[in-house]
């Protein structure tokens, strides 16, 4: 009997319990959570800014009026570093800029030599052509170096050409990655040229606010940011996240009574796409967006305009515009992909409500008769009349301006700090954004992607702490490893100043981290509360344990009986 009992106990304890334990334990592959959850102080992202300064005597040709001032590279370096320091202090994200300045004086490089030659000739040609200041247009046509050179300039770097010419503004920001610094002192100049150059370079190259990011930042930074700089908060609010690719939907909404034949005369989605394609290609980098178009007939906004006698037009106030888009009836937002949709909507009011003007907060007609809806898209109201048709180029340029804002870019004009001293040239390419802007966009998205990836992994680890029933499979562990490796690669690519590579790697990192967080298998054991566990295991263990108890009791009784028998 005792042997049978022992065997029974051995089977239960030696086989049953381990089998139960193995089959019911929640599997958790080990994740490097300590590394991921670690305080973020040490991992501030380093962003190198490569700057070349071209100091060539050929460019300092204004001999008779030659300025006494010299361009000091060490001053420029100092100014750049103080700018970097300033950024690190004020910028909410944990970014450290690392300016690297190199000087080109001798004509070692054939391409550079050629450009210097070209530019010197252009300056010479102009110095002969009378006095007075050159218009921006003229500078753009004559001084801005040829495009073939700019196209070959390393993405991610900036080149400063130091010149001396009385008729040039102090600073000219070229359409490609270059900046012309004029040594010739203007009367209004109060700052040394190096300081201005450093500031403009930072404005152009280190504008990394073009993200939709609102996390991975120290406590209440955003609230503070909103108070201090509502522009940045607004920018973050309207910018589409770029972790995934996006779709663009052109919509023409025709009010009741707008005849379709008249409308089709200006509405040509293919032409609009042709006009916007260079920009879309540039902002989506290597991931072309899906583009589609639609026309909505009998479109009725959710608000009715009122007639304004003074303006002799129908008007809508800004608070009414909040209800303008009738997403319910206009069939917007239906897409086959899971990517965000950028809506670009052109509304033609019914003939009896024309002209329809949108008012701004002060009651004046709003500029361009259009408005933006953050993270949704842009709306433009057009009022074609019998004698004045709508120009498609106008529509396209407004849509382009709206797209720029939705992608997180600033308006060029708003970045021009001193209208007199700094001239910013528009891009010659039709992309709608300068090379400096493109580089800044890549930099800010690199930051966004890495921050988002880090955040995803970190939150996942925190969730594992909070929710003990989550499963972590080996596949998931591998994905985390891949994500971490990609993160390291993205970082090292950025340190090498390989912008495009760094960008694609960061995007990949964000994708994998996202896949880790949203792993569909992690849910399988989520809903299994503790009380259910006990309700289920008690009926299992009680019957297994009872025979043991009974047998032990019986054995004890027999033993006592056996012990009592001899004495009796």
């Amino acid at each position: 009997m005792p042997w049978a009992l022992c065997l029974y106990i051995v089977v239960i304890a030696g086989v049953g319990l381990p089998v139960w334990w193995r089959t019911t334990t929640i599997y958790r592959a080990s994740l490097p959570c300590e590394l991921l959850v670690a305080p973020t102080g040490s991992e501030s992202d380093q962003l190198p800014l490569a700057i070349q300064v071209v100091l060539d005597p050929a460019l300092l040709l204004d001999a008779q009026k030659r300025p006494s001032a010299e361009f000091s590279v060490s001053d420029l370096e100092r100014a750049l570093h103080s700018q970097a320091h300033e950024h690190a202090r004020t910028l909410s994200s944990k970014v450290a800029f690392r300016p690297v300045v190199s000087v080109i004086t001798t004509q070692t490089n054939e391409r550079i030599a050629h450009t210097i030659e070209e530019m010197a000739r252009a300056l010479n040609a102009n110095s002969n052509a009378g006095d007075g200041h050159l218009s921006t247009q003229k500078i753009a046509e004559q001084i801005d170096p040829p495009y073939f050179f700019a196209a070959n300039m390393t993405p991610g770097s900036g080149t400063v050409f130091v010149v001396a010419d009385a008729r040039l503004p102090r600073i000219v920001v070229g359409s490609s990655r270059l900046l012309i610094a004029n040594l010739f002192p203007s009367a209004a100049a109060t700052e040394p040229i190096e300081t201005i150059v450093a500031r403009v370079l930072f404005e152009q190259m280190a504008d990394v606010g073009a993200t939709s990011l609102s996390y991975d930042q120290p406590d209440d930074t955003l609230a503070k940011q909103a108070e201090q700089n509502s522009g940045d908060a607004l920018r973050a609010r309207r910018t589409f996240s770029t972790a995934s690719s996006f779709e663009v939907l052109f919509t023409l909404a025709l009010g009741a009574g707008s005849s379709s034949s008249a409308s089709s005369s200006y509405w040509d989605p293919r032409a609009i796409y042709a006009a916007l394609r260079p920009f879309l290609a540039a902002v989506s980098v290597d991931d072309a967006p899906t583009v589609s178009s639609q026309i909505i007939y009998e479109a009725q906004p959710l608000v009715t305009p009122t007639f304004d006698k003074k303006l002799n037009a129908f008007v809508l106030r800004p608070d009414q515009l909040q209800h303008f888009v009738n997403s319910q009836d206009w069939g917007l937002g239906f897409s086959t992909h899971n990517n965000p949709v950028v809506n670009l909507l052109v509304f033609e009011p019914p003939p009896e409500l024309r002209p329809l003007l949108l008012l701004d907060a002060t009651g004046h007609p709003a500029a361009q008769n259009g408005f933006l809806i953050p993270r949704w898209g842009g709306v433009l109201v057009v009022n074609p009349t019998a004698d004045q048709a709508v120009e498609l180029s106008e529509i396209c340029s407004v849509l382009l301006a709206q797209l720029r804002l939705l992608m997180g870019l600033r308006t060029q004009r708003s970045r021009m700090t001193e209208l007199d001293t700094v001239h910013v040239l528009l891009p010659r390419q039709l992309a709608g954004l300068t090379d400096f802007e493109h580089d800044s966009l890549l930099r800010s998205r690199w930051l966004e992607h890495l921050a988002s990836a880090r955040h995803s992994l970190k939150s996942f680890c925190q969730l594992l702490d909070t929710i003990p029933n989550m499963v972590v499979s080996d596949e998931l562990q591998r994905k985390v490893d891949v994500a971490r490796a990609a993160m390291g690669q993205a970082n090292s690519a950025m340190q090498r100043n390989a912008l495009h590579e760094a960008y694609s790697l960061s995007k990949r990192t964000a994708h994998i981290a996202e896949a880790v967080f949203f792993d569909s298998n992690a849910l399988s054991l989520l809903y299994f509360p503790e009380d259910n566990k006990y309700a289920i295991y008690v009926p299992l263990f009680a019957p297994a344990g009872l025979p043991i108890l009974v047998a032990v009791v019986k054995a004890l009784r027999q033993w006592r009986a056996a012990a009592a028998a001899p004495s009796a």
């Binding site: 908060a233 209800h323 953050p374 009380d531 009791v553």
Partner: protein, 412 residues
């Protein structure tokens, strides 16, 4: 003597069982309460880092967790909410509607194709245009949690996903049969308040919402939000612990109760709200007093962090889009570009339209970025070892075997 021994042994066994379960229950309770405390601390810390003001989009997740004709009122409840949020501007693409949807075309429905929420049959809440995202037996705890947490297999279409972001305000409405900290899903499973709390935490961790309003109409509804711990959640329910959430009235023609009190009064109020209304959440909550519900309406705003007197109802029930007018500078900018654009357009128009021009207009981007995924094969779901049915069968067999063993051994 023999019988007395059996009785004594049984008492001992029962005592042991009782002891075991008592210890288990105690330890379980302890663990849950201590973790709750730490969550509260964390939530308090989170409240300080309020996101920059405002949301940009609205979502609604509306769930009726029961089916069959006698639960007509739950379908009517949910559809009443669906009607309201749609009327106030949330498009179907932003509404996840989970509904058994077996009422409108039920053979017992004398008014086919309709669902009414009162005997006057004024408002057909089924409406002309309805998009049910999860229908019939798709309304499961798993699917509901997948919607909230976003953990979907890849093939799940967009209409079934809650694609919210850090600027989304989400309205979550649930109705069905519930109890203390649980809600039944179609008589086959149940969800606990803890599950919803954890799902909300997962959403918060990934910043998939700006604010959540959780509304639940069920018996003992207020227990459902007691375990929430993530920030920016406003929750309200129709009945306190131990209370029943009553139906409002029955329709003699349909033969069933058509609506619950809570939702009936909610809809009555919402019908008076227009998209540009300035009614606040506090105004909305005033509707639900004892005389209207016969149960204790409850709400919880400690996680929410804003004064409900300042929060407009349309921030959750509507879709008020913030707007930005273009600055004059943007206009200058675009005017300067107009020339360039004009040049492109001219170039475009002079070119012969070719087939190749048409092709890239719609370029498919779905094939990209999946290269890394090919390295990972899809993992089959882990066997559900904790399946209740499985264990109850095992348990029953074990109990029977044990009883036989005990009887056998005592007989000997």
């Amino acid at each position: 003597m023999q019988i007395a021994t059996v009785v004594r042994q049984q008492i001992v066994a029962l005592l042991l069982l009782a002891l075991f379960s008592a210890v288990a229950a105690a330890s379980m309770h302890e663990s849950s309460s201590s973790s709750l405390d730490s969550h509260h601390d964390r939530a308090a810390a989170f409240l300080n880092e309020r996101a920059a003001a405002g949301h940009t989009n609205n979502w609604a997740v509306l769930v009726a967790t029961s089916k069959y004709w006698f639960n007509y009122r739950h379908t009517a409840n949910t559809l009443a909410m669906y009607r309201s949020v749609k009327r106030l501007g949330i498009p179907d693409s932003n509404i996840i509607l989970m509904l058994a949807d077996d009422m409108a075309c039920n053979t017992r429905n004398p008014f086919p194709g309709t669902v009414f929420h009162n005997t006057k049959r004024e408002i057909n809440v089924y409406g002309e245009n309805i998009e049910v995202d999860y229908r019939g037996s798709e309304v499961t705890v798993e699917n509901f949690l997948r919607v909230l947490t976003g953990r979907f297999p890849e093939h799940v279409p967009r209409s079934k996903r809650l694609l919210s972001d850090d600027r989304s305000n989400i309205l979550v409405y649930m109705t069905g049969h519930g109890g203390d900290e649980f809600l039944k899903f179609q008589d086959s499973e149940e969800i606990s308040s803890r599950d919803i709390a954890d799902a909300f935490e997962q959403m918060w961790q990934k910043r998939r919402y700006n604010e959540i309003m959780f509304v639940i109409d069920t018996c003992q509804a207020n227990t459902m939000y007691s375990t929430f711990y993530s920030p920016h959640i406003l929750a309200c329910g129709s009945a306190a612990l131990g209370e029943t959430s009553y139906s409002h009235h029955a329709d003699p023609v349909l033969g069933v109760a058509v609506v619950d009190r809570f939702t009936y009064h909610a809809l009555e109020f919402l019908e008076s709200v227009r998209p540009d209304s300035s009614a606040t959440i506090a105004d909305f909550f005033k509707v639900f007093d004892w005389s209207a519900l016969s149960s204790t309406f409850g709400y919880r705003d400690d996680l929410f962090g804003r004064d409900i007197k300042q929060v407009r109802l349309t921030e959750f029930f509507g879709n008020v889009q913030p707007i930005e007018l273009l600055e004059p500078r943007v206009v200058e900018d675009s005017e300067a570009r107009a020339q360039l654009v004009q040049r492109v357009l001219n170039a475009y128009r002079t070119e012969e339209p070719e087939v190749s021009k048409v092709a890239p207009l719609v370029s498919d981007s779905s094939t990209d970025s999946s290269s890394w995924q090919s390295k990972f094969t899809l993992i089959p779901p882990t066997p559900f070892v904790h399946n209740k049915a499985y264990w109850s069968v095992i348990g029953t067999i074990a109990v029977l075997t044990a009883t036989l063993v005990v009887l056998e051994s005592l007989k000997r």
